[in-house]
Amino acid sequence: MSTALSLRAFEYWRFQYRRTWRGTIVTSILNPLLYLAAMGIGLGTLVKGQRASSLGTNGSYLEFVAPALVATTAFQTGMFEAMYPVMASIKWIKTYVAMLASPLGTRDVLNGHLMWMVLRILQTSAAFLVIGALFGGFPSWDALWCLPIALLLGMAAALPMTAFSAHTQQESSFAAIQRFIIIPTFLFSGTFFPLSKLPLPLELIAWLTPLSHGVALARSAAQGKLELLPTLGHVGYLALWCVVGFWLAHRIYRRRLRP
């Protein structure tokens, strides 16, 4: 019953996507092309020999950076899908308000939107994976593990962000999040260099963000080097963000939408 109701809310997102899909397809193809060309090929030519072998990827910087960029994409998709669309659904377009006049409840409205975020995260990560493979960034089929990892990471970002977007009244906080959270996380998440190269205090801070754990998982997975304990640790940490984020989002949706 409740799944069926959530699917009705999901249908809205699928339906309105007909309007914007062209733009998002271009973005999800163009972004990997630009990043892989700049980081993998451009920067990669400088990182060679002994320096490169310290990365543990058979000397290829491209193979080092490609799985991490899949994770980064998932993280950013999760963040952006949970920012303006959520606020617009409450404040501007009031999509949620319209839905709540029907049999749908706040839980269905939230779950339907989350289902859509899942789809978008899978979509952008898969696009990155395919283009990365064409560039030669993935040595084996093990790279396919990056997809479930990307999904877990993407939702670890999207769920708390959804809760925050439903809570905040000001869109200006999104610009601040972009500047002070998304960009620094992107730079200091182990995507471009191993976190162990950072001074210890910075390294510890970097490990607080979900992205670092997603990057570590994706990289190990792509190289077929997932080890049980670290994997459990990373997955557990990401799952914690998901669970807390979901719990908060549910509470805040209820408070905001059923005053």
């Binding site: 069926a4 109701l5 009705r8 809310a9 249908e11 809205y12 339906f15 309105q16 309007r19 377009i93 009031k94 999509t95 308000v97 319209a98 839905m99 709540l100 006049a101 029907s102 049999p103 749908l104 409840g105 939408l257 059923r258 005053p259």
Partner: protein
């Protein structure tokens, strides 16, 4: 049978009591109005009836179900026209109908068929493929009404249905709502327009500060709380009006900054009596009592923000 039955309905937001224990009953096929100034608790009441806002106290039964526990089942049989439009501006008129129908789980073919019929009903067929953004305020309102009817609701809730519309657009909306009423749809609406209440409502309550100040048909309310006619006297701006000579002329006399109102049964004989007493205002107007007189009498003339 009462379709809506509220007992001691109460809504609190922290320390503030928006709705203070009101009793309301709405019967099948009736057009029922909540009338009141801003902040009287009309919208809070409507949101509770719409099952999107939990009650703080009291009981609320709608269509023989409990609003507190059967929200989704009740909402499936209600149509809602909210105070602020919740249309998707970037979708077309037809797509707005489509997606809204899907929220109710109405089969695709039925949504299509009903959309065409309802767009025709609100005279928007020729705009079906326009984006909502491009519509005028009146058209958006009509679309919201058409959309609310897609589930063929038994009760239609309208929160200030014509606020912000020009007179032509208001009359079109009224006329459509009147037709719905004739088709047997129960209408529940809030308004602060007296003419709207008189046009549409069989019965209404006047709300003030969360309570019901009066209840009845527009005619009965006027009879109970006002006189048949009102004489409006205007004096020159700087003239100091002495109410003394007006004594005993009216059932109730009210002095406003710019005029004096005499509430009387027979306006013409009151005017005759005025000249007999030698009172000569700058202008005299005799008119029928309206709901507005009742409203202002019951809720006061102080500006509510």
């Amino acid at each position: 049978m009462a379709l809506i039955e509220a007992k001691r309905l109460t809504k609190r937001f922290g320390d503030f009591t928006a709705v203070d224990g009101i009793d309301v009953e709405v019967s099948q096929g009736e057009a029922f109005g909540f009338l009141g100034p801003n902040g009287a608790g009309k919208s809070s009441t409507m949101r509770m009836i719409g099952c999107v806002s939990p009650l703080s106290e009291g009981t609320l039964r709608i269509l023989d179900m409990d609003a507190a526990s059967d929200g989704p089942a009740i909402r499936a049989r209600l149509g809602v026209v909210p105070q602020e439009d919740t249309l998707d501006m970037e979708l077309t008129v037809r797509d707005n109908m489509w997606i809204y129908g899907r929220y109710f789980g109405i089969p695709r073919s039925a949504v299509k068929e009903r959309s065409e019929r309802l767009l025709d009903f609100v005279q928007l067929t020729d705009r079906a493929d326009s984006r909502v953004e491009a519509l005028s305020g009146g058209m958006k309102r009509r679309l919201t009404i058409a959309r609310s009817l897609i589930s063929e609701p038994e009760i239609l809730l309208l929160d200030e249905p014509t606020t912000g519309l020009d007179p032509q657009a208001r009359h079109v909306v009224w006329e459509r709502l009147f037709r719905l009423k004739q088709q047997g749809v129960t209408l529940v609406l809030t308004t602060h327009y007296m003419d709207e209440a008189e046009q549409l409502c069989d019965r209404l309550v006047v709300m003030d500060r969360g309570r019901i100040a009066a209840e009845g048909s527009p005619r009965a309310l006027i009879e109970a709380h006002s006189t048949r006619e009102v004489v409006e006297l205007r004096f020159a701006v700087d003239e100091k009006v002495d109410l003394g000579p007006l004594q005993g002329l009216a059932e109730r006399t009210e002095q406003l900054p710019d005029r004096v109102l005499l509430y009387v049964r027979d306006g013409d004989s009151a005017v005759a009596e005025l000249s007999r007493r030698g009172i000569a205002p700058q202008s005299v107007l005799v008119r029928r009592s309206t709901l507005e007189d009742v409203f202002l009498h019951l809720t006061g003339r102080t500006l509510v923000d």
